[in-house]
Each structure stands twice: as structure tokens, then as C-alpha cells.
């Protein structure tokens, strides 16, 4: 199986791994958080950790869009879907996320019509094809997916579509990182910045992390070699006594971000005063709602929504895992009561979630395999 070979070359990886090892100060342990779930997935999928010295521990951050959805918002989605004539659409990852009242998959088994789409434009297409139904897109994700939701709304408005709306759960990454930096049990040494989010927002918004919080951050791409190179850049900063924001993903990320995307986001969305994050609690100015210019597409206004805050199950330690305070397997229910087929917490659902990634790929990852075939 080969693809994008230049970014997955095992020999180059070995070279980089050796270089990284020589940068480690003897006796020092480094905790580096990859903020983005895409990175978590790559790390486990390709066994990136195998190329790193023991002294470097990768800590999985809150950047898995599905993992930060609170249970109450899942219930809200189901409540919308159960109203007459509604088709609720969402990304595949959302289907198994447990709410207080089951998941979308289970709602479908009870008669709801919740369909998986690959992009919000597909949801708009479904709306146009079903003029007698009300079609709602359950929007989730960071600044990565928000622009496509925004562009879909621009299109819906231009085309005068009246049976389409968006239930908006878009969140923004900087407040989440700030919340982690503020947490008292913080033990992180550095961050790997989310590559896709950064294509939109650029690197400038991270500057305070280095200048005020004194933690290095390197914006990283998604191929396994990107991650190794970013870790190398972090270690180089430590070795040279620098604390900076650097950009490893220069083939895609501009320092200033993407002004056009930012403009559309500003036009279509407005910042919510507060938003509830799974496990992290309520974080100010951390999420997007539809702006007044798009309020007729806002499902929160046009549907009856319970909007009840559902407390996370007692056993659930997703918050600690999202903050990097606990490793997935340190949660008391990991792999026993909480498994990918019966998740208690959200981190067990998406393959980008730290718990699911570790459960599906990670156990035994420290076992070296010598296989000559």
C-alpha cells in the first residue's frame, strides 16, 4: 500500500528520529500536545511514536470536532430530527456520538431520518431535491469545516432556498487552547498546531502562546513525516533556548491565513458569548452562531429545541483526556465500560478521538515488529 510516499518514507523517518533523540537533554521528559484530532489519527495510524525516543510523550489535544460536542447538543439534534417532515444531515462521525437520549443511529432505528453527508453542499442538494421536507445540517468542526458551512449558506441564500437550515456547533480553536493553558494541572512543554485550522486562521493567533505563555508551538501538516519534522523543530527550539511560533506546514499554511475564508466566516457567523464543550465546560467566545444576516437559516431559531444541558456521565473522564491530564487508558472505564461500540464518552467515537485512536490502533504500538516478507 503506497500513497504520498515522499511524506511517509520510513528511512527518512528513521533519520529524523535519530536527530530528535540527539536533541533530548539527558534525564528530561518532554510532553508535547498535538492539538488536532487529525494528528492524533496519523500518529496512531502510522505508528509515529515508534520513531521517537522514550523521553518524548505525545499528548492528545481537544481538536477532534466530534469529541467536544456536549451530550445536550446531540439530544437537540435528535429533537430536531424527530419533528415532522425533517431530514437531519450530518457528517458520518456524528452518527454514533452518544447523547442523553441515544445516538443518531439509534434515533434512526426509532424512525428519524438522519442522513450522513460528505459536505454541507450535499445537505443543500438534499433540500433542493425534497422541497416538501425541512432539511437541517448539523454543523460541527473547527475553523476547518466552518468555511464550507458558510459557503453553503451563502449559496442557499443566493438560490433562495427556504427549506434549508443549519444547526450550528462550530467551535474555534484558540479558546480551547487557552482553556488548556489555564488549567491548573497543566504539564505540557509544547504544542503542535493544527494544520488545517491554520490554513484558515494563519499562525498569528498563536503568537501569545509563545510570547505570554512561554510554550513553543509548531504548526504541523498531517503526514507522518510532517509530524516528525514538527517535533524536530520543537526540540530544536528547546535545544537552542528559543520559544517561538513556527510553521512547518509552509506548503499550505500562510502566516496570515486565508483572508477570503476569514471574510466569509465573519459575514456568516458571529461569536457566541459562551459555548459548552464536552469535558471542558463552558468556554467564553469559543463557538460560532449564525449572524443576523443569516438568521432565517438558523435552526436554533426556527425549531423547538430542548437546549437542556446534560451532565456528562460520572465515570467519564473525557475532560481530563482532552486536556492531556490523563492518558486514554488511565480513564477508569477505558476499554471496559467505554468501547467504540458502546462509547460513554465522545473521545471513543471518532477515529480522531484520543481514546478511540488508542483503543483501535495504539495498544501494542510499543511492540516492535520485525517482519521479513
Amino acid at each position: 500500500m503506497r500513497f504520498a510516499d515522499e511524506f511517509r518514507d520510513p528511512e527518512l523517518a528513521q533519520v529524523l528520529g535519530t536527530e530528535i533523540a540527539t536533541l533530548c537533554e539527558p534525564g528530561r521528559h518532554y510532553k508535547i500536545m498535538e492539538v488536532c484530532g487529525g494528528h492524533t489519527h496519523t500518529i496512531y495510524r502510522y505508528g509515529v511514536q515508534d520513531h521517537l525516543p522514550e523521553a518524548i510523550e505525545l499528548v492528545h489535544g481537544p481538536g477532534c470536532p466530534v469529541c467536544v460536542i456536549p451530550m445536550g447538543r446531540v439530544d437537540d439534534g435528535i429533537a430536531i430530527a424527530e419533528q415532522d417532515g425533517v431530514i437531519l444531515t450530518c457528517f458520518g462521525d456524528m452518527m454514533r456520538v452518544p447523547g442523553g437520549n441515544g445516538s443518531f443511529l439509534e434515533a434512526n432505528a426509532r424512525g428519524a431520518d438522519i442522513r450522513m453527508v460528505y459536505s454541507p453542499l450535499d445537505a443543500l442538494r438534499i433540500a433542493k431535491a425534497n422541497p416538501d421536507r425541512r432539511v437541517v445540517f448539523y454543523a460541527i468542526g473547527f475553523e476547518t469545516t466552518a468555511p464550507s458551512t458558510a459557503l453553503t449558506l451563502v449559496r442557499a441564500k443566493a438560490d433562495g432556498v427556504t427549506n434549508f437550515s443549519v444547526f450550528c456547533n462550530h467551535v474555534t480553536v484558540i479558546p480551547a487552547i487557552t482553556a488548556i493553558l489555564d488549567s491548573p494541572d497543566l504539564q505540557l512543554d509544547a504544542f503542535l498546531g493544527p494544520g488545517h485550522v491554520s490554513t484558515v486562521i494563519g499562525c498569528r493567533p498563536y503568537e501569545f502562546i509563545a510570547s505570554e505563555r512561554h510554550k513553543p508551538l509548531v504548526c504541523s501538516g498531517f503526514e507522518p513525516l510532517d509530524l516528525l519534522q514538527s517535533i524536530y523543530m520543537v526540540m530544536k527550539q528547546f535545544a537552542e533556548g528559543r520559544v517561538e511560533v513556527e510553521n512547518q506546514y509552509t506548503r499550505v499554511v500562510r502566516w496570515e491565513g486565508n483572508p477570503m475564508a476569514l471574510k466569509v466566516l465573519e459575514d456568516v457567523f458571529s461569536l457566541r458569548p459562551h459555548f459548552e464543550w464536552r469535558g471542558l465546560g463552558s468556554i467564553p467566545h469559543s463557538a460560532l452562531a449564525l449572524s443576523s444576516r443569516y438568521e432565517r437559516f438558523d435552526a436554533e431559531l426556527s425549531f423547538d429545541i430542548p437546549g437542556v444541558r446534560v451532565a456528562d456521565p460520572k465515570a467519564c473522564q473525557c475532560g481530563e483526556v482532552l486536556k492531556g491530564a490523563l492518558r486514554p487508558w488511565e480513564c477508569g472505564v477505558f476499554g471496559t465500560a467505554c468501547t467504540p461500540e458502546k462509547p460513554i464518552g465522545t473521545c471513543m467515537v471518532s477515529s480522531e478521538g484520543a481514546c478511540a485512536a488508542y483503543y483501535n490502533y495504539g495498544q501494542y504500538s510499543k511492540q516492535r515488529i520485525h517482519l521479513e516478507v
Binding site: M1, F3, Y46, V66, A109, W329, Y361, L371, V373
Partner: protein, 360 residues
């Protein structure tokens, strides 16, 4: 507070849970129960198996074994509910014949005869039905296995999606052929008969929900001739075979690892995948190891016969791209591990439901 467990202890506890007989406790059937992953296993092993309990069923192989009057017969059945009915590389009619023929073949049985039961939706165009019956006839003629009995039912519009086909098949186990997961042992080599993931990706693309175009055809094809060549080349050195349909090669490897209590290790760079399939998978975040095939088998072969097995497969049209992808180990029992293309390692577990595309 209980004492915090070490990573190893947590791993052991998970292993213990994995080995518990799966229980079926869901209140309703969801799509996950049909996707070939853990939920399907819970449905089959937690509901059907205990209630219908008998030794042949308990094997849970691709076909059940029946002995009568000194002969050993393999008996199997499969339902086909694919949408769309026609897709690049095949159609439901062809699939229904090949799928059942292959379940017999990988059990080591020469397919003798098939039955076909069709459920038709009121309003279905006769031309559509005729095309599928012709497809069945062509597939049946090409592998020389006749459809000797059948049944038709019509249900009201909306009660089914155009056309469902169930085929059953009976086959004769040849003298001296013994295939079973228990016969798989450490040292055995793992082979696949060709490129993986073609069928599943072809169907996903044919549904037209993705803004993706790629030239991928279903691999639906009968495997009996290939199996025959393998049996001739390896004899008793051929320990087990599975048809890598729903759930893909990864699911088959896990089934064998668990039931033989062995570890299976594969090298991902040895797994044959078409670039188009890999590309589509990358974009959708779907791993070809979990994608369905309809004409590919996985074989476990004694190490000294691996080369002969590979040669035998490659001599057949259905096995031109066969490859040796890994081997069986003592450790870790019940688990499948992969050496990644990046030179790292990962675990390859059974999926929960349908492989869900990642979003970003």
C-alpha cells in the same frame, strides 16, 4: 478510588473482555448490525448462535458442514441487498451467484448447485429484473454451477428497495481437504489473492454521493478454480481460507486470530491495493483493509508451501496479483498487528460499524 492500573494491566483487562462471548443487548436493530463489524458479531453470536445452537453453526465459517451417507457437504446462504443494482464491474445478479459460490469454495468444497430466492418490489421494471436474471444465468454458466431451485415473492411498493436476492449453495468437500481456523498455527504465512477494497469503493462511488470520480470496478468473480489450484499445490499445508467480503481483510484476520488464539502480523506495504482505491480511501478517511471484496480470499498456508501457494494463485486469472502479506505468530494471541508503510506499528482491530468517513 481503585488503584490506578498500568497500561499493561489495562491491556490485559481489554483482552479478557474481548474474549467474552458477545452479548446482544440492543433495543433495536441499527445499521451497525449489518456492517460486518463488532455489532454484527454481537447480533450473530449473541442472538442467533445460542438459540439455534448446533456444532456445524458454532464453527461460524463461510459454510456449514453436513455429513450424510459418507459424504461431506458444505452448505451456505447469503442475501444481497446492494444499491445501486448495477455498478462498474458487476450487478446484484452476478454478485448473488459468485458470493455463494465463493463461500463454498473457501470452505474447500466444490460448488454443486444453487438456489435463488428473490424479493421484488411492486412496480419494479420488468427489464431491470430480466437483466439481473440474465446476469445470474451468465455467472452461473461461467462457473458451471446451476441454479436448481428458486422462489419469488412480491412486496408492496416501499417495502423493499427494488430487488433483493438470497442464494443458497451446496458443495462437496473433496477427500483429504481439512480447513479450519484451529489448524492455523504460528509460522503460517498469510496470503491474499489480489488487490483489496475494489468492490466496496466501486459501490461507494457508484452511489454518486461523493464528488469523486475514479475508475474502480467491483472485483466480483468466482474463486473455485483458484481454490482448486491452491488445494493441489498445498494439500494439507493449506490450513484455512476466508472470503474477505463485508468488513474486508482486516475482519477476516481478526476472526482467525481470535479463534485460533494466535497473533497475525502483516506488512502494510505488501498488501496489494489499486492506486485509485487507495486514493479514494485517503480522501474519505477509509482504510482499504476494512473495505468489502467480492472475489478475494485470504489463505493461511504452512511456511514451506507459501511460494508454491503464491505461484498457484498467480497462475489463475482470479489470482494474478496475489501476494504474501504477513505471517502468524504466538504473540499477541487474538490480535492483528501491522507494520505501517511509515516503518511504525499499529494494531488492526475489528471495526464497530460501517467505516465512517472522517470529516477533516
Amino acid at each position: 478510588m481503585p488503584r490506578a492500573m498500568s497500561e499493561v494491566e489495562v491491556g490485559e483487562r481489554i483482552e479478557a473482555i474481548r474474549r467474552r462471548a458477545p452479548r446482544f443487548r440492543d433495543e433495536r436493530i441499527t445499521m451497525a448490525h449489518g456492517a460486518g463489524g463488532k455489532a454484527s458479531r454481537q447480533l450473530v453470536e449473541g442472538l442467533f448462535l445460542p438459540l439455534l445452537a448446533n456444532p456445524a453453526l458454532a464453527e461460524l465459517s463461510d459454510a456449514g458442514l453436513v455429513k450424510a451417507a459418507g459424504v461431506r457437504l458444505a452448505f451456505t446462504t447469503d442475501s444481497f441487498v446492494v444499491s445501486p443494482l448495477r455498478f462498474p464491474g458487476g450487478s446484484i445478479g452476478e454478485l448473488a451467484v459468485n458470493g455463494t459460490v465463493n463461500d463454498l469454495a473457501v470452505s474447500g468444497a466444490r460448488p454443486l448447485a444453487l438456489s435463488a430466492a428473490v424479493i421484488l418490489e411492486e412496480g419494479l421494471a420488468a427489464s431491470v429484473l430480466e437483466a439481473e436474471v440474465k446476469a445470474m444465468a451468465a455467472a452461473s454458466a461461467s462457473c458451471g454451477v446451476p441454479v436448481v431451485t428458486g422462489d419469488t415473492k412480491v412486496v408492496e411498493r416501499g417495502k423493499c428497495d427494488s430487488l433483493y436476492i438470497t442464494t443458497s449453495g451446496v458443495g462437496l468437500l473433496e477427500e483429504g481437504v481439512a480447513l479450519a481456523p484451529d489448524l492455523v498455527r504460528p509460522g503460517d504465512k498469510v496470503l491474499v489473492s489480489g488487490t483489496i477494497g475494489d468492490h466496496g469503493v466501486a459501490i461507494m462511488l457508484a452511489r454518486g454521493q461523493l464528488d469523486l470520480e475514479a475508475d474502480v470496478k467491483s472485483d466480483t468473480q468466482p474463486l473455485w478454480e483458484l481454490v482448486q489450484a491452491l488445494i493441489e499445490a498445498c494439500g494439507e499445508g493449506l490450513h484455512c481460507m476466508r472470503d474477505a467480503t463485508r468488513g474486508g481483510v482486516a475482519t477476516v484476520l481478526n476472526e482467525i486470530a481470535l479463534s485460533a488464539e494466535v497473533g497475525v502480523v502483516i506488512a502494510e506495504d505488501r498488501v496489494p491495493v489499486r492506486p485509485e482505491v487507495l486514493g479514494a480511501g485517503e480522501i474519505l478517511g477509509i482504510d482499504p483493509l476494512y473495505v468489502a471484496n467480492e472475489g478475494k480470499l485470504v489463505a493461511f498456508v504452512a511456511p514451506e508451501l507459501a511460494d508454491a501457494a503464491l505461484e498457484a494463485m498467480r497462475s489463475q486469472p482470479a489470482g494474478r496479483e496475489a501476494a504474501l502479506i504477513g505471517e502468524v505468530r504466538d504473540e499477541p494471541p487474538g490480535r492483528v498487528l501491522g507494520r505501517t508503510t511509515f516503518g511504525g506499528h499499529r494494531m488492526i482491530d475489528v471495526l464497530v460499524g460501517d467505516p465512517l468517513p472522517r470529516i477533516c
